[in-house]
Symmetry: C2
Subunit: 214 residues, 2 copies
DNA sequence: ACAAAAGTGTTTTATATACACCCATGT
DNA sequence: ACATGGGTGTATATAAAACACTTTTGT
């Protein structure tokens, strides 16, 4: 006898993770090439099934660490995907997460079910396996919202010390819109989310002050 | 042989719904008294398991219609609850929804697993079954956010025609804070979300103009 | 000297807040 | 006449947006 009155169907539950970084001056997403059917050879978001002893956040963190070797700071659960036919193998509910990190921290590993893992620029990312195009689009929309609400959301994409110009360029990449330099700097400096350092970045120009998260 | 490489555990997946209405001048939540173990006799949020042929939104709508007889306008998926031990019967992932409706539209029915269904004032709602206290609290927080972002979110709580005073009082109930009458009216009237009617509500005072959603 | 990016304030506009009195009806 | 809630406008404060030139370094 089941412990449940109505013997519910039991879908598999997976956490799929949109892991973004900054590479080659653009946002890139971590994808894995599927080693088995369905969608063999197609790119997909990394993810994996919820295990017995973990909640969804723990599952997402575990999968992410397996894939990247990086223990993510913050992960954001942003939507569920539950169309009955979204996975040809059977019923799979996908809980989608967004995570930001630095490409330099990542040592990509081919994991159990990923033949290959790679960073892909968002522009050239289409025709993913399953409904992952939709999941990715939803993640980017949410990223834009979060960044607008608080640019500090983007800190994990950047090194521990960064210039305001760099933060602004990431902000513009994620929101899609250019912003005024003076207004942006004022906003961020007055937000209390950063602290100025006594260090500077040098280049073929005036040195730029570095800032760190407050 | 499983269609899945790693034969994932298969939790039950349920939609639990925080259904709110306006009754006796307060927000009230629809609860069901549990007819069976665990938590027999305790109040719980209505909800039910995801079926084979439906996605989560459809599941929430179906459960809600079963419970209230009302086909909800908008339902809002606002969080997942996935602690491994949140249900003593076994693994159950809860996807939580928020829905607003009018108490007058509801004819409460005792459903399959609900011995009794009733509206309960939020103030006296505690010690719900499972982690439903937490789910309810999260729903109220989200409601407050949505109402602040756009008071039109609250329209489903009200009849098809309502006075601005009534809308304001609901707004104050949901956000917790009193607002200035003139500022609130200005905001709502200029939002384009309502249209004035040539009808008035009478009482022991000056008649109040009625408005309808735009 | 030139190129390249860093840095810096003020003005304008829009939005949010604070605030008090008269009006129309029922009793 | 009085009690009850309905209805209205302005002034202030805060936040957002627009806008251009000078500074510092490397080459």
């Amino acid at each position: 006898m089941s412990a449940f009155c109505d013997d519910p169907p039991r879908p598999a539950v997976a956490a799929d993770i949109v892991i973004l970084c900054l590479r080659e001056g653009a946002l890139q997403v971590l994808l894995v090439r599927r080693g088995g059917d369905p969608f063999r050879g197609r790119w997909a978001l990394p993810g994996g099934f919820l295990q017995e002893d973990e909640d969804l956040d723990a599952c997402a963190r575990r999968e992410m660490e397996e894939e990247t070797g990086v223990r993510p700071g913050r992960i954001l659960q942003f939507a569920n995907f539950s169309q009955p036919d979204r996975d040809p193998r059977g019923r799979v509910i996908s809980v989608a997460y967004l995570a930001l990190l630095r490409a330099e921290d990542v040592r990509l590993k081919a994991s159990a079910d990923a033949a290959e893992a790679a960073w892909r620029p968002l522009a050239r990312t289409r025709n993913l396996a399953f409904d992952h195009d939709v999941i990715l689009a939803a993640a980017l929309a949410r990223l834009s919202d979060e960044a607008r609400a608080d640019p500090a959301f983007l800190f994990p994409l950047l090194p521990p010390a960064f210039t305001l110009s760099r933060l602004q360029s990431v902000f513009e990449l994620t929101t899609g819109r250019p912003v005024d330099k003076r207004n942006f700097r004022k906003l961020v400096e007055e937000s209390g989310r950063i602290q100025p350092l006594e260090a500077f970045e040098r280049g073929a120009h005036r040195p730029a002050r570095l800032f760190a998260p407050a």
